[in-house]
Amino acid sequence: MYLYDQIDQRLVEERVAQFREQTRRYLAGELSEDDFRALRLRNGLYIQRHAPMLRISVPYGLLASRQLRMLARIAREYDKGYGHFTTRQNIQFNWPKLEQVPDILALLATVQMHAIQTSGNCIRNVTADHLAGVAPDEVEDPRPWCEYVRQWATLHPEFSFLPRKFKIAITGSPQDRAASKVHDIGLHLVRNERGEVGFEVLVGGGLGRAPMIGHVIREFLPKEDLLSYLEAILRVYNLEGRRDNIHKARIKVLVKSLGPEKFRELVEAEWQASRDTAPQFDAAEFERIKRCFAPPPYETLVDEDVLSGRPAEFRNWYQRNTRRHKVPGYRVVFLSLKSPTRPPGDITHTELDRVADLADQYSFGLVRSTHDQNLLFADVRQRDLFELWQALKEIDLATPNIGTLTDMICCPGLDFCALANATSIPIAKQINERFDDLDYLYDLGDIELKMSGCMNACGHHHVGHIGILGVDKNGEEWYQITIGGSSSGQDASLGQVIGPSVPHAEVAATIERILNVYLEEREEGERFIDTVRRIGIKPFKERVYAPAHQAA
C-alpha cells in the first residue's frame, strides 16, 4: 500500500497542529460557532444527535494492520468501543469528545492517517474497486491513480470551497464495483483500439434528492492528461455550479441543466485554454506511487480443492464470502459486517484488533473496506481458508451472506444522525429477523438491499435492487420502497417507487411480498434485478399492494 514520505507526513502533522489551534480558539470563544463549523467539517467532525461524529479517511479503502490497531485503540479510549464503516470506505466514530479530537488526529497521524476532507464542500475520499489489484478482469490497478488524485485533491488551493461536496471513484475493471456511475466524477481505466490505457470520464452522477446516472463526457483520456482534465471539470463546476440553493449545488444539477453535451463543450474549451499551465504529469512521481502498489510476494501455488470433506457451513461460506483471485492458489475473502445481531458496518475494538492479527497471519497485513460496508482480505492462500474461516467465526465475521439480501447497506439513521427522518438500524434488525433462513437467502441469490434514513441517500437506496428510504409522516417513521436500482456491473439504473410508503412494522413483510413476486415470476437462474427489468414494476406494485395486504 502507499507509504508516506516526509512530505506526506509533514502535511498531516501540520494539519493536526492547525486544527488543534482552531479548536483551542473555538473553545476559548475566539471563533464563532459558524466559523468553527466550516473548519471542523474539513476535518471530518460533525456535531450529531448525541455527540460529535468523527469521520476518518480510509483512502480507497486500504488499511494496514497497524492502522486497524490504532482505530481499535481510538474506539477503546475515545469512543464507546466501536466504529462504523461507511459507503465511502471510511470509518466513523460516534462518541468522541470535541476537545479530544485534536489528540485523536495526532494519534492517526502516527500511522499515516487523517480526517482531511471527509466532509465539507471539497473533494472527498477517492474510492476504488475493492478488488483492485486482484480482480482477474482488471485492465489496470486503479489504486496508484487514486493516490495520485488523492494527493492532488488534498488542500487543493482552488477547489477547497466548491458549491457542494465532490466525490470521485476510479475503477479498473469492466465490472463496476465502486458505484462509479453515481459519483460526481467516475473514472474507468479502459483500453482503446490501439491498446493504450486511458480513462473513460463520467460526470454528473449522484444520489441524494435528485438521483442521476453519470454521463460519459470523454470516451478516452490519455492517462497523462488526468489532472489537467480534472482541473478543467472542477473549474467549470466551481465557476458555474449553483451556490444559491444547497439542494441544487451538486455538479449533477449543472450537467443536467446545461445538458451533458454543452457541459462537455465547456470542459473541453476550458481544458484547451488551461491544460498547458495546469499541473503536468510527473512520470517519476507516479512511478514512485505505483511501486507502493506492487503485488505482495505471492508464493507459487496451484489452485486446490478446498471443499472436499469440509462441512456444509464452510462450503456455504466459501461460495458466498470468497471470490476468485488472479493468482493461482489464492482467494479473496470477505469479512461480513452484516451478521444478524450487528448494526450493518459496525465493528468493535476487540474485533478490529483481531482482524489486524488475522491480516498479519493470512493476508500480508492488509485489509480493505468495501463501499458496501464489509471488510476484505485480498490475498489469502486457499490452503488457509478453513483455518481462517474458523477464526472469523469466533469473532462473528463469517456470516455467509455476502451479496445476499441481508448483506444490506445501511446508514446510521435516526439513532445517530442529525439529518435522518427515520431509523435504519432497527429496520435492518427487523429484516434480519424475518429472513434468518440461509437456504431461503441462497435461493433468492444475489440481491442488493440498500437503505437510507433520509433523502441524502448515504445508504444508496436509489441504486438498491430493493431500496428503502425513511420518511417522516407527522412524526412517525414510514418507509418508501423502490425496486430495480443498481450501481454495479455494467448497467447502472435508478430504482422506481412501487407504491405508498409503509409503516415501520410493515417493512420486512413488504419486502417478503416483493420477493414472493420474484420467486413466482423468475426464470431459470434469473437474478432479482433481471426479473424486475424483464417484467417491470407493475406486477410488483399490484401484488405487494393487493387489498388483503393494504398498508395502514
Binding site: 512530505i7 509533514r10 502535511l11 501540520e14 494539519r15 497542529a17 492547525q18 482552531q22 466559523d35 466550516a38 473548519l39 464542500n121 494527493q151 492532488w152 488534498t154 488542500l155 487543493h156 488551493p157 482552488e158 477547489f159 477547497s160 470551497f161 466548491l162 458549491p163 473549474r235 466551481n238 465557476l239 451556490r243 485554454a273 488551461s274 499551465t277 495546469a278 499541473p279 503536468q280 510527473d282 517519476a284 512521481e285
Partner: protein
C-alpha cells in the same frame, strides 16, 4: 485609513474604491467591473493607476486585453463558502499571466489565506474584526503542498516544499 495585508506585511492602503472617491482625486482608483466595461475608453488615458473589482459572477475572461492598463484586480468574497474567486484568480495568474496586485476583499478570514495565497492572491483586506497580526501566521501553517504554486507554471515535480518554493 484602511489597513490590509500585502506581500505578507500589514500596510496602509494606497488605493480607493470609486465610491469612496467620487471625484477621482486619488491617483489609485478601483472601479467596479461593470463601470470599467462601460467606461473603458475614457479611463484609458487617465493619469492614475487603475484597478478593477470583480464580483463572483463577473466574467474574468473579459479582462484579457486590459492588463496594460489595469494594475490591480480585487476579487470579492461574500462568505467563507464562496469559492469562485479562487478560480478567477487562477485564470488571471496562470492563463493571462497577470502580474499586478491581486486582492481578496469581503468576507475574508485568516483560515482562507493559505488557499488564497496559493491561488495567486498577494493582498488581503480581511473582514471586520479579524486580527491582522494574528492572521499573518496563517501563511506558514503548512510548509508543504501537493500542488505547484501559481507562480511555478511548470513544476519540477508535483510535490512541493513551500520553504523552497
Amino acid at each position: 485609513m484602511r489597513r490590509l495585508i500585502k506581500q505578507r506585511e500589514i500596510v496602509v492602503d494606497e488605493w480607493r474604491y470609486a465610491d469612496e472617491d467620487p471625484q477621482g482625486r486619488s491617483r489609485a482608483l478601483i472601479l467596479p467591473f461593470a463601470r470599467w466595461k462601460a467606461e473603458r475608453e475614457q479611463w484609458w488615458l487617465w493619469d492614475g493607476r487603475l484597478g478593477v473589482r470583480l464580483g463572483p459572477t463577473d466574467p474574468v475572461a473579459e479582462l484579457e486585453h486590459d492588463f496594460l492598463r489595469i494594475s490591480l484586480v480585487a476579487i470579492e468574497f461574500g462568505s467563507i463558502g464562496e469559492g469562485r474567486g479562487y478560480s478567477q484568480a487562477q485564470i488571471l495568474r496562470r492563463r493571462f499571466k497577470f502580474t499586478g496586485e491581486l486582492r481578496a476583499v469581503g468576507y475574508v478570514q485568516r483560515e482562507q489565506l493559505f488557499y488564497l495565497a496559493r491561488c495567486g492572491f498577494d493582498a488581503f483586506e480581511l473582514r471586520e474584526g479579524e486580527d491582522l497580526e494574528a492572521a499573518l501566521s496563517a501563511f506558514d501553517e503548512f510548509s508543504v503542498a501537493y500542488q505547484p504554486a501559481v507562480d511555478l507554471v511548470v513544476s519540477p515535480t508535483r510535490r512541493h516544499s513551500l520553504a523552497q518554493a
